[in-house]
């Protein structure tokens, strides 16, 4: 008899399993199938070969890969897919989750600890899933005298604003959720919401530590937003555009960090401060004010704030890549054209039985895959550089922080602007320049 479950009996286990299967079947039949049918009514089906596709034909087509692939391709061009899955939320959340795990492991190695170890046999790889389950199943406790509407709204708003930020990032050629003409300005507008959400959530908790943390966060974010915006103006002058996609395309031959290293450094320090990461983690200084403005959050509310802050981390790192490191530009290492046999013979899925002949190649174009690999490599590199200071630096004092923000970084940002101006007026680069 095991110690963990002293009253274990195989019969009870089988009964429980069959019970669960019974209820799953009942709920799927009575609820799931009607829901699927109702959803299918409201979907606009494409017209292929002059015939409207109904659900039955879609299901029929799904059974054969050659007919299913065009459908999948057309689905991947829809807004829903872009927002929910690939360049949008799903992709960013995946990178954010990987970042959390890598951060814990990396920090542990830096401090000669083991880090997450037991969950999932191999180096604690499932620790994140366990943490997520724990957060979801925990009770959400709200302080008795908290301002409830604002307290509830703050985590949701935080995650939503981070999601809006993610939506502006171009990931690969043609793969961006919101390709607007004023992308960089939209980034500034979105960044401006974070201090408001922070201070409102800190105030609504009606507790001392969150309020102190919120005030600190407000000081820090507002003072570092100005050099952050100023450090990017040089790029706007050189490229003559605010569109992030065009800024990436302008770096086809060289990234802007070559000409504006000062701007890149200022922007990177501002990223660290905006993300509240060590050495600028005064708003959640855990050794002084418990957890800063996150103190009163529990359960999935805390989870949402964490999700939002890591989405923000990804978005800022990706913005650094897009603006300074050339985005998806990079040497080709993926085959430039589809392999010749694919064009002539198709892809052999099952030898002798199933061969696919797909118009326009497989799911993604070669250009997109190559660009995506470069983008992800660069973004992961920047994220690692953002993570490493956490194991190296102490927290700095708030007066030093404000002095850096208002005094040194603004000065350096202006130096960067004058470098950009010199480059433009000497006719080296910029609109109509030599390079």
């Amino acid at each position: 008899m095991s110690v963990i479950a002293p009253k274990f009996r195989l019969g009870y286990l089988i009964k429980g399993l069959t019970d669960n299967i019974f209820w799953i079947i009942v709920i799927l039949t009575l609820v799931g199938l009607p829901v699927v049918q109702i959803v299918l009514i409201y979907i606009d089906f494409p017209i292929i070969d002059g015939e409207i596709w109904n659900p039955f034909r879609v299901l029929d087509a799904m059974t054969h890969p050659e007919r299913a692939l065009p459908l999948v391709k057309s689905f991947m061009q829809t807004d829903f897919f872009k927002v929910a899955a690939f360049p949008g939320f799903g992709f960013a959340a995946l990178i954010a989750a990987a970042t959390i795990f890598v951060e814990r492991k990396l920090l542990a190695k830096l401090q000669l600890r083991v880090g997450p170890f037991y969950c999932g046999k191999v180096e604690g790889i499932l620790q994140l899933m366990a943490d997520g389950l724990k957060l979801i199943s925990k009770e959400i406790i709200i302080p008795a005298k908290a301002d409830k509407p604002l307290f509830w709204a703050a985590p949701v708003l935080f995650a939503a604003t981070a999601g809006a930020f993610v939506a502006l990032i171009p990931v690969a050629p043609g793969w961006v959720v919101a390709d607007i003409d004023l992308g960089l300005l939209a980034v500034f507008a979105v960044i401006g919401f974070f201090p408001i959400i922070t201070i409102v959530s800190a105030w609504s908790a009606n507790s001392k530590f969150p309020f102190i943390g919120g005030i600190r966060a407000l000081y820090q974010m507002v003072s570092f937003e100005i050099p952050l915006i100023l450090s990017l103006l040089g790029i706007v002058m050189l490229t003559g555009t605010l569109n992030l996609v065009e800024i990436v395309e302008s770096q086809a031959s060289f990234p802007w960090i070559i000409f504006m290293p000062i701007g890149a450094i200022v922007f990177f320090i501002c990223i660290l401060a905006e993300l509240e990461r060590i050495p600028f983690d005064l708003p959640e200084a855990e050794s002084e004010i418990v957890a800063g403005w996150l103190t009163e959050f529990s359960g999935m509310m805390y989870g949402l704030v964490q999700l939002g802050s890591y989405l923000k981390l990804y978005a800022f790192a990706a913005l650094f890549v897009v603006l300074f490191l050339g985005g998806w530009n990079g040497p080709w290492f993926y085959p430039m054209e589809p392999i010749a046999e694919v064009i002539t013979d198709g892809v052999v899925l099952m030898p002798g039985a199933l061969t696919l002949e797909i118009e326009g190649g497989l799911l993604f174009s070669q250009e997109m895959i190559n660009g995506l690999i470069w983008f992800v490599l660069k973004t992961v590199g920047v994220i690692l550089v953002i993570l490493i200071p956490r194991g190296v630096f102490p927290r700095i004092r708030i007066d030093l922080l404000l002095q850096i923000g208002w005094y040194k970084l603004i000065m350096l940002a202006f130096v960067n602007i004058f470098i950009a101006l010199a480059l433009v007026y000497s006719g080296i680069i910029g609109p109509g320049g030599i390079l």
């Binding site: 004023l182 408001i196 201070i199």
Partner: protein, 171 residues
């Protein structure tokens, strides 16, 4: 679509403006003010000038509203907020507002602005920049001087006074 959007944004703007004035809780009033400013940004987007709209969000919602919230939270409520109800004043305020709105509305409706139709595309922000450099350059220079002066002033204010700092330093 545009009409319903316009109505929605107008309702949001006006309701949150009234709320910003009438809310008992000052923090909620500040948040309602953010709603008003955001609604105005929505109007700018409807008017095909996203440049102004994004600046409206970045400057007014992102900075001014934050400053107001910050001030509200740092000041004791009793010092700035007295419960003095004065019905006469209230009705006078409502009457004044009605008079102003009716007269403004009359002016706007009689100016023929509703019958203007134009086929010109929205103004590009690049054109604004070119106009600033070519036609309005004195204004640009004046703005640049004011901005440079204010930035220099901010830096002087932010500079640490090291002689004082050294006395207070504990290490």
């Amino acid at each position: 679509m545009v009409d319903s959007l316009f109505l929605g944004i107008a309702v949001l703007t006006i309701v949150s403006a009234i709320a910003a004035l009438e809310m008992r809780s000052l923090v909620y009033g500040g948040i309602a003010l953010m709603g008003t400013l955001g609604g105005i940004a929505g109007f700018f987007i409807l008017l095909d000038s996203p440049f102004v709209a994004l600046f409206q969000i970045a400057v007014y919602v992102g900075s001014i509203a934050v400053l107001i919230l910050f001030t509200i939270m740092l000041v004791k409520r009793e010092l700035i907020f007295q419960k003095k109800e004065d019905t006469k004043r209230r009705y006078a305020g409502i009457g004044l507002m009605l008079i102003v709105m009716i007269s403004l509305g009359a002016i706007v409706f009689n100016s023929g602005i509703s019958s203007i139709t134009t086929e010109e595309p929205a103004v590009d922000y690049r054109e604004i920049g070119e106009d600033f450099l070519i036609y309005y350059w004195p204004a640009l220079v004046a703005m640049a001087l004011v901005l440079a002066g204010s930035v220099t002033g901010a830096m002087i204010l932010a500079r640490r006074h090291d002689e004082v700092e050294d006395e207070q330093r504990t290490d």
